[in-house]
């Protein structure tokens, strides 16, 4: 009896001991206070990889910009500037780029960064065996497409070390925006001996060698990424903050709580539901800026009712009161969109939708005329399915649009709410979609980053838009070396796109951050990049 009774208690005791032991081992960094202040930044959701070639998420990009450095990088204001390259030249035909690397560029283990490192990295980027997500950034390089398709060996890539510090890149065709691709994280060099030694695990803390202002110290991919100053970085003297902690917090509300509790200096976002209250409470800490991203509704133009029906598409686009959407629903400083390419790109002025200058009433009148002309009436209303992925904001926008279409035109809209992956699959298949919610963001500072996805045959062309004039203009823009002429081609292409109403631009996204008053050096930019080494702590008064 005694023996059986004591048994559960001994089990209990063992469990307790195990728990206390694991508690002790998981105690975290401990109470030893660092002399230097750590910068705590919210990262949003979890980063997917710190291998620049396998990384795809925005979050990985944020960390990679701190720990690595490509040939070019950005100034605090978002302009291109030399990274590992201290000088470069482009041949007159725009095909050959020659870079001179800094003599003092170093890996985080002290070894020099050489032109050979870049050759190795570019080859790895396009090697089909790497299966890199962002290999597109190398697409303009000579033979890149053939290597990606498996038709040529990676050694055939048009990237060559001319000397230890001289790198030559040959392009397949002139690409006026090519330099901006060379600031993308996917073109950062990877440390060859590390890749060879550790394989898939080379990007883990302890293995990863990088060449940026910081180096990776610790990464718990779903919780915390810790980086510290890379003592060998060529411009380390300018790096004010010695240690940065990125906190993985996918819920903006949780992030805001931690900001208020003083546990974060910079947030990744701001909770939508309490935006007004936050603007009231922290007017000087809230940073809102327009970004290079657009929220739009696409039409599946390959199926009825939108196939060959630009009048119906135009009527639906005109009937939406975008001002109401951004003021009443999103309400975070977004601007209503009348173009597909967001404004703010250097050397590009997006044309506007043909009705952009009309008053609300004129738009309503014209929308009704077009609706009539397309063969619809109150007795024979258009019946439309509008698909969006499950999210509160998407739902509220869809409901508002449903009402606007009904009130202005008498359209009967069915709202279909789908899980994101389901919607993606449907949009790609173009079988059941009619109107669908989507978004696009630019990854380099050029209108091509947006307009190229609507070329016929582009995989990201979810509308199925195929227009010979558009394709011809885009092809001419892609090969035109003169920036002024090229700009005209691109603007004309967008004008064609907008006049065909293959999609409905709704609003341009904004970036939203809370930035502690202690932080100096923060600048709002259209790409929403904020390198930690550009920031510093305000000296106490």
């Amino acid at each position: 009896m005694t023996a059986t009774r004591s048994k559960p208690f001994s089990v209990f005791g063992i469990v307790l001991a195990v728990l206390l032991l694991s508690l002790a081992s998981c105690g975290g960094p401990g109470p030893d206070a660092p002399a230097e202040r750590v910068l705590n930044r919210g990262l949003g959701s979890a980063p997917d990889s710190f291998d620049p070639h396998k990384a795809r998420s925005v979050q990985s990009g944020t960390v990679l910009r701190d720990i690595g450095e490509a040939l070019l990088t950005h100034t605090p204001g978002g302009e291109l500037t030399g990274g590992v390259a201290e000088a470069w030249s482009v041949s007159d035909d725009g095909l050959v780029y020659t870079f001179t690397l800094r003599g003092d560029a170093r890996w985080s283990n002290g070894e020099p960064v050489t032109a050979e490192d870049f050759v190795y990295s570019f080859r790895r980027l396009v090697d089909p065996a790497t299966a890199a997500f962002s290999a597109e950034s190398a697409a303009p390089v000579e033979n890149a497409e053939e290597i990606l398709a498996g038709d040529l060996a990676p050694e055939e890539l048009g990237v060559q070390a001319v000397g230890e510090r001289q790198l030559e890149i040959r392009l397949a065709q002139a690409t006026p925006y090519y330099l901006s691709l060379l600031a993308h994280t996917s073109t950062q060099p990877v440390y060859a001996p590390g890749v060879e030694r550790h394989g898939d695990a080379f990007a883990r803390p302890g293995n990863l060698v990088t060449n940026g202002p910081y180096r990776l110290v610790h990464a718990d991919p779903a919780s915390l990424v810790e980086i510290e100053r890379n003592p060998y970085y060529w411009n380390g003297a300018e790096t004010a903050i010695g240690e940065v902690h990125y906190h993985v917090l996918s819920q903006p509300a949780s992030e805001y709580n931690r900001y208020r509790a003083g546990e974060l200096d910079i947030t990744d976002s701001v909770p939508a539901e309490s935006f007004a209250a936050i603007r009231e409470a922290h007017p000087d800490e809230l940073r809102v800026a327009q970004t290079l991203a657009i929220y739009y509704y696409g039409f599946n133009v390959t199926k009825p009712p939108f196939e060959g029906n630009p009048d119906l598409r135009a009527a639906l686009s005109m009937a939406i009161d975008r001002e109401v959407l951004v003021e009443r629903i999103t309400g975070r400083g977004e601007a209503p969109a009348y173009s597909f390419v967001p404004p703010g790109l250097p050397g590009y002025e997006p044309p506007k939708l043909p009705f952009a200058d009309l008053s609300r009433q004129e738009r309503i009148d014209r929308a009704r005329r077009l609706y009539d002309r397309a063969g619809y009436s109150d007795d024979n209303p258009a019946r439309i399915e509008l698909r969006y992925n499950t999210l509160d904001t998407h739902q509220r926008i869809a409901e508002a649009v449903q009402v606007m279409w009904r009130d202005v035109l008498g359209v009967e809209t069915e709202l279909i709410n789908e899980e994101f992956q389901v919607l993606l699959a449907n949009m790609r298949a173009r079988e059941v979609t009619q109107v669908f919610r989507s978004a696009w963001s630019g990854t380099y500072l050029d209108a091509h980053s947006f307009l190229s996805i609507l070329e016929s045959g582009n995989e990201a062309n979810l509308t199925g838009f195929a227009n010979a004039e558009y394709d011809a203009l885009m092809r001419r823009a892609e090969t035109e070396a003169n920036p002024k002429t090229r700009r005209l081609y691109l603007e004309e292409a967008e004008r064609v796109l907008l006049s065909e109403h293959a999609l409905i631009p709704l609003y341009y996204y904004v970036s939203k951050h809370l930035v502690s008053p202690d932080i100096e050096g923060w600048q709002d930019t259209i790409l929403d990049y904020h390198y930690s080494h550009h920031l510093s702590f305000r000296a106490p008064d």
Partner: protein, 307 residues
């Protein structure tokens, strides 16, 4: 008992196989894929990716490859956390979930059994009704309400405890998640304990023991506790498995990198291997815990025989 254990373990093998097969078919039946985003990949890039992860093979081949891997302890690479394998992610996340879930369960047991016993000893008094009303409240308020309220009160307003997991380390960061996770369990356990105890206290043998003049404490601890706790025990098996594999809500609110958020994010992002790995892990855990509960039954209640 050894024969019983062995038989149950053998019976678990087909169960686990069916779980793997079902989970495999379900995740693959879901629309979309692990590399699908609004930024659709160019065809040749996508083909390279699918080939690199063997996703271009026929489904039966992929299934056999997966099962073969699992048998050798290899759960494959994660598609969403590409620097890690699924095994490494589970190995990182489970100790955390175990610690937080285990502490929450211990807290829930201590509070729940005491509260239930107190209520059972004074049935239908104000004390009993008060305890039961409180526990009813605990059951009714969902964790996603309790957790942010605790954060607001103790983290933001009073500033006594850290709000998040990452960063300011130490034991204090455990308090809020453990309490938030324990509260609904306290309520369940209290109600089960009370019901079980009231029933046992009215039984004949207790009446006999009482008539013999045994003090209430002996009565309760020696004679009544074990049979009264059988319902609690049967609740504990699945509850422990659930709580150990992580509470998604708690992990989201506090930013804890436990198993639950890996599971949910894996499912949403079609991280097939991660979802499957956690399902296999969870299923194994449930099988083992149910077995443990059955064995404990026999220890607690001599009328139960293991056959």
């Amino acid at each position: 008992m050894l024969a019983f254990t062995l038989r149950r373990l053998l019976a678990a093998i087909p169960t686990l196989f069916l779980v793997v097969l079902g989970a495999f078919l379900l995740v693959r039946a879901a629309p979309g894929g692990p590399f699908d985003e609004e930024r659709v990949l160019p065809a040749e890039l996508e083909a390279n990716l699918l080939a690199a992860y063997h996703l271009d093979e026929p489904l039966p081949t992929q299934f056999l490859r997966y099962v073969g891997g699992v048998l050798t302890g290899d759960f494959g690479p994660s598609y969403g956390y590409r620097d890690y394998t699924v095994g490494q992610l589970i190995a990182q996340a489970f100790p955390l979930s175990l610690m937080i879930g285990g502490l929450a369960m211990l807290l829930a047991l201590a509070l729940g059994i005491s509260a239930g016993a107190v209520a059972a000893l004074r049935p239908n008094t104000a004390l009993d009704r008060g305890v039961m009303a409180l526990s009813m409240t605990g059951i009714s308020i969902p964790v996603f309400v309790i957790a942010p309220l605790l954060v607001l009160a103790f983290g933001v307003s009073l500033d006594w405890l850290p709000v998040g997991w990452s960063g300011s380390g130490g034991i204090s960061r455990l308090v809020l998640p453990v309490v938030a996770l324990a509260l609904p369990q306290v309520a369940h356990i209290a109600r089960l304990t009370r019901a079980g105890l009231i029933e046992v206290l009215e039984s004949d043998y207790i009446r006999t023991a009482r008539a013999q003049g045994l003090p209430t404490s002996t009565l309760l601890l020696v004679h009544a506790a074990r049979p009264a706790l059988v319902p609690v025990l049967s609740y504990l098996g699945p509850a422990i498995a659930g709580i150990l594999t992580g509470s998604v809500v708690i992990e989201q609110v506090f930013g804890i990198p436990g198993l639950g958020q890996f599971f949910v994010n894996g499912a949403l992002n079609r991280d097939y291997t991660l979802v499957l790995g956690i399902v296999v892990f969870y299923a194994t855990l449930i099988v083992l815990l149910n077995l443990a509960v059955d064995i404990l039954y026999a220890t607690l209640d001599p009328r139960i025989r293991l056959t």
